[in-house]
Symmetry: C2
Subunit: 184 residues, 2 copies
Amino acid sequence: MTGAGVLDCREALEETRGDFEKAIAYLREKGHAEAAKKSESAASEGRVEAYIHHGSQVGVMVELNCETDFVARTDDFETLAHNLALHIAFAAPDYLTRDEVPENVIEEEERIYRKQALEQGKPEDIVDRIVEGRMEKFYEQTCLLEQPFVKNEDKMIEDLLNEATTAFGELILLRRFQRYEVGS
Amino acid sequence: MTGAGVLDCREALEETRGDFEKAIAYLREKGHAEAAKKSESAASEGRVEAYIHHGSQVGVMVELNCETDFVARTDDFETLAHNLALHIAFAAPDYLTRDEVPENVIEEEERIYRKQALEQGKPEDIVDRIVEGRMEKFYEQTCLLEQPFVKNEDKMIEDLLNEATTAFGELILLRRFQRYEVGS
C-alpha cells in the first residue's frame, strides 16, 4: 500500500466512523424520545394534593403522577406531593419548566437586563454573557423544576423528582400545579 | 286650545317622556355598571379553599371573595367556600359563566344539536327553538354559576352567591376555581 493509499483508507475509515456515530446518536435520541413518551403516558396514576396556608390566604393544588396505584398509595409518595405543594406556596413559581415561559416574557426580561448592563457601562462584548447569566437566575426564580427546594436549598425540585423516580423504580412526574393568593 | 293642538301637545309630551325614560334607563345602566365595577374591585378579601375527594383522585381549589376581612373569617363564609368546592368536585363544571364558553365550542354544540333535530325529521321552523333549548341545557351542565347545587338542586350556584351577598351585606364573588382529576 502506498502512502497516499493509506491516507485515503484512513479518511474513508474516519468518514464511515462519523456516519456510524451519527447513526448511533440518531437511534439513541429516537429511543430516548420514544421511551420518554411511553413513560409519560404510563404515568397516569397518582394523587391530587392541596396545601392551604396563611389563614386561607394562599392555596396550592398539585397533581403528582406515577405509574402504579401501589406507589400512589404509599406514605412517601403522599409526603412528596405535600412537600411540592408546600414549596409552591412559599416559592410562588410562575411556570413548571423554562419551555413554558412565553417568548414575549423572555424578550422583555432580556431587553431589561441588556439595558441595565449597557447603562452600567459594561463593554458590548460581555453584555451577552451578563444577560445569559441573569436569564439563568430568572428561570431559577420562576420555573418550578429549577427552583431550589425550600426545605433543602441544595436540591432543585427536578432533583427531588428524579430521586423519587429512582427510589420508587417508576417515573414520577409533577403534571400540573395551581397557586391562588387572595386578591392577587 | 284646538283639538289638533291638544294632540300635538300630547305627542310632544309623550316623546319627551320617552326621551326622559331612555335617559333614566341609560343613567341607571351606567350607574349599575359602575357600581358593579366598584364592588368587584372592592371584593378583594376572601379565602382559598380546597376539597380533596375519592382517595385523592379528585381535587378542587376555589377563591371566594368578599369585601371585608371580617366576613372572610366567619364560619358561614368558610362553609360556603367548602360547599362550592365540594359541588365542583361532583358536578365538574368546565366554565364559571356562559360568557367563558369559547365560540368554537358553542358552534360545534349547535351544529350537533341541529343535525340531530334534522335527522329526527323535525320541521325546519322549530329546529332553531330545539337547538336553543338544548344549548340552555348545555350551559346548565357546563357553567358553574348555572348548575343546580348538588346539595339542593332547587338552587343554582348563582342563587347561593346572591343569597350570600344579601346575608353578609357585601358582594360575595367566586373569583376562580380549578378541578384536577388524576390521569384526565
